[in-house]
């Protein structure tokens, strides 16, 4: 039964990504051209509510459905890995027009050439693993 909850959350997220057009290459292009508020509105409003949720969880020590503590790990401090990694990711995000969530949604939606993007993403992840120790972090 526990497995079902993860699939349901994924379905929920996938429907939102596709129906909000956040999975559309055109919306990503438009965002980087500053021609529309749409994507900024999605990310911005998600963030406002997200910050409130996290602060409420911390303030009231809200537990998981199973009664366990919710812990937030601080990200390790660095600039180079986040900046360089972020720039590389951004280049790909604009070119492929899909990030790692929506690319799977698009697969389900029947846009089969996205398989090439997913293959590239797996290849890129593998390359990072091979080169990790040679990169500034």
């Amino acid at each position: 039964m526990k497995n079902i909850q993860y699939i349901i959350i994924g379905i929920f997220f996938g429907v939102i990504m596709l129906k909000s057009e956040a999975a559309s290459w055109f919306r990503i292009y438009e965002m980087f051209q500053f021609k529309a508020f749409h994507m900024y509105g999605i990310i911005g409003s998600a963030l406002v509510l997200g910050v409130i949720f996290v602060q409420l969880i911390k303030l009231y020590e809200i537990k998981t459905f199973n009664g366990e503590q919710i812990t937030f790990l601080d990200k390790s401090k660095s600039v180079s890995r986040y900046l360089f990694g972020g720039i590389i990711f951004g280049l790909g995000w604009a070119l492929a027009g899909a990030c790692p969530g929506p690319m799977f949604t698009l697969l389900g939606a029947g846009f089969f050439p996205i398989i090439i993007v997913v293959s590239g993403a797996l290849l890129g992840t593998w390359l990072y693993g091979l080169l990790k120790n040679k990169l500034p972090h």
């Binding site: 996938g14 997200g50 809200i62 993403a121």
Partner: protein
């Protein structure tokens, strides 16, 4: 009922994404999609090639199930909720795209020049999609997260490294669209 056939406006979509993150926190997990790519690499045998992939990938099974759900979500959205229609993007953006050769701008959900099935027989198209994916996969792991992990989860927890990463996302995205697109399209 007509409402579910409409696109989801930004002010509904954003909060629903935040709720996705909240639901994952409440079942004791985290919202971050790109780590699935690492898990898939390990499941495909990358653990034989370097330490980065040596971890118990079955512990990440829950996230693969979330990912599987997003695939089903895409199917449901297109087949039962009238998803996949043409987004109403800005007319200036459409003109810019047409001048780059994207004739399908303003008349499809994704550019047919890159995501129509004819791309399978286009060396340039395959190269562009593969390179785009490669940069996404490499960059996400280098930065330790993607749009969901940094821009949503990390920033919601007021993490400075996530802000650095998101600034990076935009530097890269702006450079691609403004500087590189005119060279490659």
């Amino acid at each position: 009922m007509d409402l579910i056939n409409q696109p989801i406006p930004w002010y509904i979509a954003g909060p629903l994404i935040a709720i996705t993150m909240l639901l994952l926190l409440l079942v004791g997990k985290n919202f971050g999609m790109s780590s699935n790519l690492r898990t898939m690499c390990t499941a495909l045998g990358a653990d034989k090639t370097c330490d980065f992939f040596c971890f118990d990938w079955k512990g990440q099974r829950w996230n693969l199930l979330v990912m599987f759900g997003t695939v089903i979500g895409g199917f449901i959205a297109v087949h039962y909720l009238s998803g996949g229609n043409t987004p109403e993007i800005n007319p200036e953006a459409i003109n810019n795209l047409k001048s780059l050769g994207f004739e399908s701008a303003g008349s499809s959900y994704l550019p047919l020049e890159l995501f129509g099935t004819s791309v399978f027989s286009s060396v340039k198209g395959i190269f562009i999609l593969l390179t785009g994916g490669l940069l996404v996969g490499f960059g996400a792991r280098y930065a330790g997260g993607c749009t969901s992990g940094h821009a949503i989860s990390g920033l919601s927890n007021l993490q400075l490294p996530s802000l650095t990463a998101v600034i990076g996302f935009f530097i890269g995205g702006l450079a691609m669209v403004h500087l590189i697109f005119p060279l490659i399209f």
